[in-house]
Symmetry: C2
Subunit: 336 residues, 2 copies
């Protein structure tokens, strides 16, 4: 049994964390240990800042989730927001609110999961804060990035006729969560199902595709799919005062999600539309740029992009099913 | 009885918050409502970022604290970190983790308290996040600022013989907290005691003095007194590999704190040394610059600065009492 964090002080915990953090890169002029951190921005670039939180029993169950995955995901959901703006990460702040019964082993694992993604994405941890919690474990992260001023991918920007693209495969994270809630034993699951749980626990921010879309100037708007594709499509349309229509047959549904939907007697496409937390990206691409966008996107060999719909001057968010019927797009996932 | 936040959705709450936020200034290129916010940094300046949190039942009691004070203080403790670096605030992110029983009235008051300090300090609220809490109210803030690169006031910088200055008066916040914990009825208290409670609930970040010390180049290091003067003096000394000696007779103790200390049979100076959460600043000033520093500091007519000690080549953190005796400086306040 590992000792709990209540047996050491705040400063000992910060020192314990600090020992695990590699030295920051050159643009970080001052990292962990002072009143604030300092970053030297590159000339001509704008700062991109975002914050998102994981709360125990709201976003995860502590005793069902590997602690390294909690740390990983807390950073990932923030980096996904930077990716959706086309930004390069330059640093992050980690604010931990820790219950007294958290073990030091769990603390170390959480930090190591966070730092594993920080390393993989060149996102130095430059500051933060540790407090006690009288209840849930709360992991609140601020991610900081940079983007060329006019190349930031906002939500506003779609025009009638523009295409809607998504990255990766949809529905995996929601399927993984459903499998965990059913109490599925991981070792009894097939590879697709295990991949769904992995996606739920360790989503991969699509920084490379966001950067490609921003730098090539081929996308005119973007957002991430934290609340699902139906929600993102609706928001991208409404931000531009447009409508949107999604082709169900085009949706790239993850095979594990398709299997789960089939077992429930649902269509894979309906599942993929509403499924939240994949942290894939949605891009708006003008018709004359789709060829260049697709060619540029192939530079990320690991993650495909798929054209799944188009924006319309006529308002409304709709989906066209394989039988030719058209229905209203389902409302997105609501966290609250 | 006001409705609770559980009766409205996350997006309705964000819209409710958004309606209270004034339009951002020109340097904020994109504020609330997208995946992330965008700031255009001024040429030659470094970005300063910090995060700090207020947690119910750890840092405040919800049913004893005016909700606007919770919002005010959550921003204030972050701006104090920017002040201690000599930075100008350029924006803030507000991450709220809200229990279902929080009323909409309380939500509005919290936001209004936050925005009142945001307005007073020209710190636009540019983004954030709202989540549910299964337990405590958590208000996590990230403050963003800018400082001329070589003018940032770090903790490291003291040299032997340098003077230690503090801003304002010490002990007020700790005295205010003690009065609240004794169950004192506010309306029965004298003006000094009420001022102590006000300082505990609505600390004032010393942005103006931080900026003066940075711009005039008269201070060589600084930090804020979130954990008290004894702690700050020790940390400024240790960061530079030095010792420090504080003159108890010089300490500017708040009259309300002095009265509380006297009622307990303690010395006002001992109380002021260990008292936390005043959010005043400690500055390190080389001997040849003390005259210029004091002259420049008079530009803030509301807050005095007081020389309270000096750094020594000999290690150790000590206090010299009026009777000439010298003792070790008490260990600082530990939040954890």
């Amino acid at each position: 049994m590992s000792a709990t964090i209540a047996t050491v002080g705040e400063r000992a915990l910060i020192a314990r964390l600090h020992r695990r953090v590699p030295p920051p890169p050159e643009h970080v002029r001052l990292g962990i240990g002072d009143d604030a951190a300092l970053i030297a921005p590159a000339t001509g670039r704008q700062m991109v800042v975002t914050t998102d939180v994981l709360v125990e029993d709201i976003h995860f169950r502590r005793h069902r989730t590997p602690c390294d995955a909690i740390g990983w995901k807390a950073l990932a959901v923030n980096l996904s927001d930077l990716a959706s703006m086309g930004a390069d990460p330059t640093g992050s702040l980690l604010s931990l609110v820790l219950p007294d019964d958290l073990t030091l082993d769990a603390f170390d694992q959480l930090i190591d999961g966070y730092l594993a993604l920080a390393r993989a994405t060149s996102t130095p941890l430059i500051g933060g804060n540790i407090s006690r919690s009288p209840g849930p474990l709360v992991v609140d992260v601020t991610a900081i990035g940079e983007v060329l001023g006019r190349r930031a991918l906002r939500r506003v920007g779609a025009r009638p006729g523009d295409a809607l693209y998504v990255t990766g495969q949809l529905g995996a994270a929601a399927a993984g969560l459903a499998l965990l809630e059913q109490g599925a034993a991981r070792e009894t699951l097939d590879a697709d199902a295990r991949a769904c749980i992995e996606r739920h626990e360790r989503p991969e921010p699509r920084l490379k595709l966001g950067r490609i879309a921003s730098r090539t100037g081929t996308a005119s708007a973007a957002m991430d799919l934290s609340d699902g594709l139906a929600d993102a499509a609706r928001q991208l349309a409404e931000a531009a005062g447009l409508g949107v229509i999604i082709e169900a047959a085009a949706l790239p549904c993850h095979p594990g999600a398709a299997a789960l939907a089939a077992a429930r007697g649902e269509s894979a496409a309906a599942f993929a539309l509403s499924a939240a937390e994949d942290y894939e990206l949605a891009f708006v691409v003008p018709g004359r740029r789709t060829y260049r966008f697709e060619a540029a996107a192939r530079r990320d060999r690991n993650v495909p992009v798929t054209r799944v719909g188009r924006f319309t001057a006529e308002p409304g968010a709709r989906v066209e099913w394989p039988d030719g019927s058209i229905t209203e797009l389902p409302r997105g996932f609501a966290h609250f």
